[in-house]
């Protein structure tokens, strides 16, 4: 019986992969999978007769129907409340950086430093973008920064596919350290009591994230240098949306605001929400936006509203993921019965496999936690790898393949359509570098946690 259920689960897993690759709505996909992966193991539990199999998974194979549906559909989304709150505060902080003109000023300072040298500009803007997105999160923020940076890159004759590729990979580089995105990954690693098995400020994890950021940024720089070496620049006559009047004077001391929450968290252990709040009020104060109490209330309201709107589409999806995660836990005995002897339990083999198969993190495939990877993680958890190793193993393709270059990521789809670059051109430019990043990072992960 366990094999039959295992095969049925595998079929639904492949079905989700096909559905995701074809661009299906993932919020609905996760909900349907949550239902199927709850129903199938419950059915299997009812008819399982093998006493060894039942005894091997206490609390899973003998779980009651009510407990199972409560775990999946109630406790699951509730458990992600903390992630959601971080996302909202991060989005608010992002809006503050945009409204005060700090993000715009940072970009302009970088451009004024580089002038008309495409390589220098490309490298400087990649560094600034990475710094900004080490804290900022959300499609709204990426689009808002993108409409400033991309026309600058293109006006300097930098080819469109390189402009988009370097910008999006730089956003992804920052995401290695981004507390909001990391919070979403960490929520996949909760103990039975609901406590996090690994935390943002875990020194080894933080060191690994810093290395991830540096490796990805370095590869972006190499990509810029290699691509612009031939100096086949493009002068395009194009029109982009109207330029708004600048938000006002931005003093130099305001430019540290984007990294303030992360610095406060890493150096002073100040919780990230307080970090976002301090960072926001610091930015508003030094930019002279808090001149009266009434004005401050208005700005606070507006920026919070805009930030929440930015995150609204993401929140729906994020609330369905925990249902899928919790349901995946019910499936572990069946996956183990079917694949337990097939999947190696050697970290070196797993690391090599993840490095070579990294592109499976594209199109919501089995190596990204924002797709079928949630189920892959469930299977690997059952084998018994350490949490830091599993975290790093899964996060690499999730960030470098999915968040940084995949067309199913909302902001990548926007960027590619904004610059009128075909999916093929975009992937041709970025995939080789993203793959190299994954290989390097999997090797580092093996050395650090394997």
């Amino acid at each position: 019986m366990e094999y039959v259920i295992g095969i049925l689960l595998l079929i639904t897993f492949i079905g989700l992969a096909v559905y995701a690759v074809r661009g299906g709505n993932l919020m609905m996909g996760m909900l349907i999978m949550g239902v199927l992966w709850t129903a199938l193991p419950l059915l299997g539990n009812t008819f399982a007769t093998n006493p060894d199999f039942i005894a091997a998974y206490p609390g899973v194979t003998d779980i009651s129907f009510v407990d199972a549906i409560t775990n999946v559909f109630q406790s699951g989304p509730e458990g992600w409340g903390s992630v959601m709150v971080n996302v909202v505060f991060g989005a608010w902080f992002g809006r503050v950086l945009l409204q005060t003109g700090i993000a715009d000023a940072l970009i302009r300072k970088a451009v004024e430093l580089g002038g008309d040298k495409p390589v220098i500009i490309c490298v400087l803007l990649s560094i600034v973008t990475t710094a900004i997105f080490s804290t900022l999160f959300g499609a709204g923020a990426v689009v808002a920064i993108g409409v400033i940076i991309l026309p600058i890159l293109m006006s300097l004759g930098i080819p469109k596919n390189l402009s988009i590729g370097s910008f999006m990979l730089s956003v992804g580089a920052g995401m290695y350290l981004n507390p909001v995105l990391t919070g979403q990954f960490l929520a996949f690693f909760l103990g039975d009591d609901g406590k996090q098995l690994i935390t943002y400020d875990d020194p080894a994890r933080l060191r690994w994230a810093g290395i991830g950021l540096a490796v990805q940024l370095l590869l972006v720089v190499i990509m810029c240098i290699v691509s612009l070496r031939k100096k086949k620049t493009v002068h395009a006559w194009c029109a982009s949306a109207a330029r708004k009047a600048r938000p006002g004077y931005v003093p130099s001391i305001a430019l540290i605001a984007p990294v303030l929450p992360v610095v406060l968290l890493v150096v002073f252990d100040i919780p990230i929400i307080l970090g976002f709040t301090i960072g926001s009020f610091y930015a508003l104060t030094v930019c002279g936006k808090l001149k009266s109490f009434r004005g401050a209330c208005r700005i606070l309201n507006k920026d919070f509203y805009d930030g929440v709107v930015d995150t609204a589409p993401l929140i729906g999806f994020l609330l369905m993921i925990p249902m899928f995660n919790k349901a995946a836990e019910l499936c572990v005995p069946y996956f183990n019965a079917l694949l337990g002897n097939v999947i190696p339990n050697n970290t070196l083999v797993i690391s090599i496999a993840f490095a070579l198969l990294a592109p499976l993190g594209l199109f919501r495939g089995p190596l990204t936690l924002f797709g079928c990877g949630a189920a892959t993680l469930g299977i690997l958890k059952g084998i018994g790898f350490s949490t830091p190793y599993l975290f790093a193993l899964m996060v690499i393709p999730s960030i470098t393949m999915n968040v940084s270059i995949c067309m199913t990521q909302s902001w990548i789809a926007w960027g590619v359509s904004y610059a009128k670059v075909s999916t093929r051109e975009h992937l041709k430019k970025t995939l080789p570098y993203a793959w190299i990043i994954c290989i390097i990072m999997q090797a580092i992960t093996y050395v650090m946690f394997g």
Binding site: Y19, R22, G23, G24, N25, M27, M28, R108, V111, E112, L113, G114, G115, D116, K117, V147, L150, P151, I152, S155, L156, G157, K231, K232, T233, V234, H235, A236, W237, C238, A239, S240, A241, A242, R243, A245, P313, S410, S417, Y418, A419, K420
Partner: protein, 250 residues
């Protein structure tokens, strides 16, 4: 609605991406009125519009910008005469052929927040995107704007891109490449050219070569209008705002 359509609709509802956000619409400005206003802007107004998109814009005072704009326009006009004299023709197509430049005409670009009209790729390729020609020429009658005549529009776009090819071949002597601004403080040095001067000069080059009495820069607004009226209205407001600021002496 038949059963198949119903099922198809249900399938689409489950498969499609997120619900598109409602589009904010701006009040429509009559096209003729817009064209009249755009024609009234002079070279300096359009130069300020170009500087508004210049990444190094913050480094210059209003006076410096005016000076740069004048010199860039002079440069474009001067090179139009030199090229016409050198190749004994004012027709951009013939000049391109004599310069050994390939001219491609794919339809490609569609709408979005960035509308592409034409491009020059080093060292010898110009692409004119005919999609925007087709769309814009359909507005010719309604607008009464001569620039939107399909053949005329093709020539303007080609002439503009030809200037970039001329720049490449004469980079040691042409103003838009020799004019540099120092970006770093002493003892360090990083001299940079000013990207928008090249665009200003390319517009002046096209206007002079083809004997236009209005700036081809107005096509930024008109061609975009063929794709996105709200975006065109935004660009129109931008140039109007910049002109008003200039009048107020800001």
């Amino acid at each position: 609605m038949g059963k198949t359509e119903k099922l198809k609709e249900l399938f689409c509802a489950f498969c499609s991406g997120s619900t598109p956000a409602p589009v904010k619409t701006e009040p429509e400005l009559p096209l003729k009125e817009m064209v009249r206003k755009l024609e009234s802007f002079d070279e300096e107004d359009w130069g300020l519009y170009a500087f508004n998109r210049e990444p190094l814009s913050g480094k210059f005072s209003a006076g410096q910008k005016r000076q740069y704009i004048r010199k860039a326009n002079d440069c474009g006009k001067e090179w139009a005469e030199r090229i016409a004299e050198e190749y004994h023709t004012r027709r951009p197509g013939e000049i391109a052929a004599k310069m050994g430049i390939r001219v491609e005409t794919p339809a490609v670009p569609v709408g979005g927040e960035l509308v592409l009209f034409a491009q020059f790729v080093q060292p010898d390729e110009i692409t004119i995107f005919t999609d925007c020609l087709d769309k814009a020429s359909s507005m010719e009658k309604e607008s009464g704007c001569q620039l939107l005549n399909r053949e005329r529009l093709f020539e303007i776009l080609l002439a503009h891109e030809l200037f970039h090819a001329v720049e490449e071949r004469h980079e040691q002597e042409i103003y838009t490449r020799t004019e540099k601004v120092e970006l770093w403080r002493k003892p360090f040095s990083n001299k940079s050219s000013i990207a928008c001067l090249s665009e200003i000069a390319a517009m002046a080059f096209a206007a002079q070569l083809l004997g236009l009495t209005v700036s081809p820069y107005m096509l930024d607004v008109l061609l975009v209008r063929a794709y996105d009226r709200n975006m065109a209205a935004g660009l129109f407001e931008e140039i109007c705002r910049l002109t008003e600021e200039k009048m107020r002496g800001q």
